[in-house]
Symmetry: C2
Subunit: 189 residues, 2 copies
DNA sequence: CTGTAGACGCAAGGATTTTGCTTTAAGGTG
DNA sequence: CACCTTAAAGCAAAATCCTTGCGTCTACAG
């Protein structure tokens, strides 16, 4: 979230933020992301443009906030019985969601309008959180587990790098191969 | 490069492109990247704003082109005698250049104004090219070498991911550790 | 040398962004 | 509960930026 968010959580402020976010999401599907403008969003949200400019600075930052919201995982990853199956399934789903044109758009938006890097950090935190669920679950089963940072380096980072820099030739098989490259135990660091 | 570049390589077109790019670079250091506007760049370049809008579309795309130019490696990586030293040195330098505020800015710009993804692809191609120099050099020495894609997954991707999503806590030691995680031989794929 | 077409300059028109001032309402205080 | 304080929103004018049509120039081809 940008520096301007979350002040006066209850009341008008919150209502304005909600209606602006809703307006962005609706218009994204109706007119497409490239046709969005601040005045357009303001009109749909029933708000004056200057309100948006004052709170978010510009369209990029607003889109960044909305993108982070949409990138938040809404469900805990399913249990497949063992860590490597869990990781493989999670990686495939991650790739599916993130590599789609929509997903790529959100990632780019999240990165773009992010002066202090907190929105990008939040995206990473979501992934870390999901992976931690898998890892603690595995540890509870008595499995040996790598640490989160290793999974980030070996799975999340390659997926993201390719999504952003080389969107071609990505498939579930690649995601599975990455998971196979994760060592079974914590790496010495 | 955008779709509008490199038409009529000689003559006026080329002069305009050069002076616009120069104007962007100069103004970036003088007034800072956030204060750049198309009219400002146009004035410095001795060109009318509409020329820039017609050729590049908007500021994002122009900045993206300039950023890719600046991300192009200008020198072949030095020879340290063996592959792992070469990779370690290259990774450290890569991190140095890319993780700085300036470097991050260029990467973000390159990603940002890139409708078709060709600029981002070019960034990745630069890294691949440099790594290939190291790998063929090692092969000429008779060393076993991993393939480029493995180095990209194990070294470049984690560095980039962290630069973009979690800029804190990056140091040369981390780059070296990544290089140690590269297998000595090609991975079966 | 001449023709052609792509690229630029200029200027008008429209849209967006910024900004000063006023008004509203959330949250605290007596 | 009434009052005070202040962050945030509304409003409107001004500044800035973006778009577009048209005329001109110049690189390249024949």
């Amino acid at each position: 979230m940008s520096r301007r968010q979350m002040v006066r959580p209850g009341g008008r402020s919150a209502r304005v933020q909600a209606s602006v976010h809703t307006a962005v999401r609706e218009l994204q599907t109706e007119v497409g992301r490239d046709a969005l403008t601040v005045p357009l969003v303001a009109q749909r949200a029933g708000v004056t443009p200057s309100t948006i400019y004052r709170r978010w600075g510009d369209l990029k930052e607003l889109l960044s906030d909305v993108a982070v919201e949409r990138l938040r995982p809404d469900t805990a990853p399913k249990d497949h019985g063992d860590l490597s199956s869990d990781l493989a399934a999670w990686a495939e789903q991650f790739l599916d969601e993130m590599a789609s044109p929509t997903g790529r758009g959100y990632i780019r938006d999240a990165l773009l309008g992010d002066p202090d890097g907190s929105n990008a950090g939040q995206c990473s935190a979501y992934a870390v959180q999901q992976i931690n669920v898998l890892l603690t679950r595995a540890a509870d089963r008595g499995e040996n587990t790598p640490d989160v940072e290793t999974v980030v380096d070996r799975v999340v980072a390659p997926l993201m790098y390719r999504i952003l820099f080389r969107p071609d030739g990505l498939d579930a098989e690649y995601a599975r191969r990455l998971v196979k490259g994760v060592p079974a135990r914590p790496t010495g660091r």
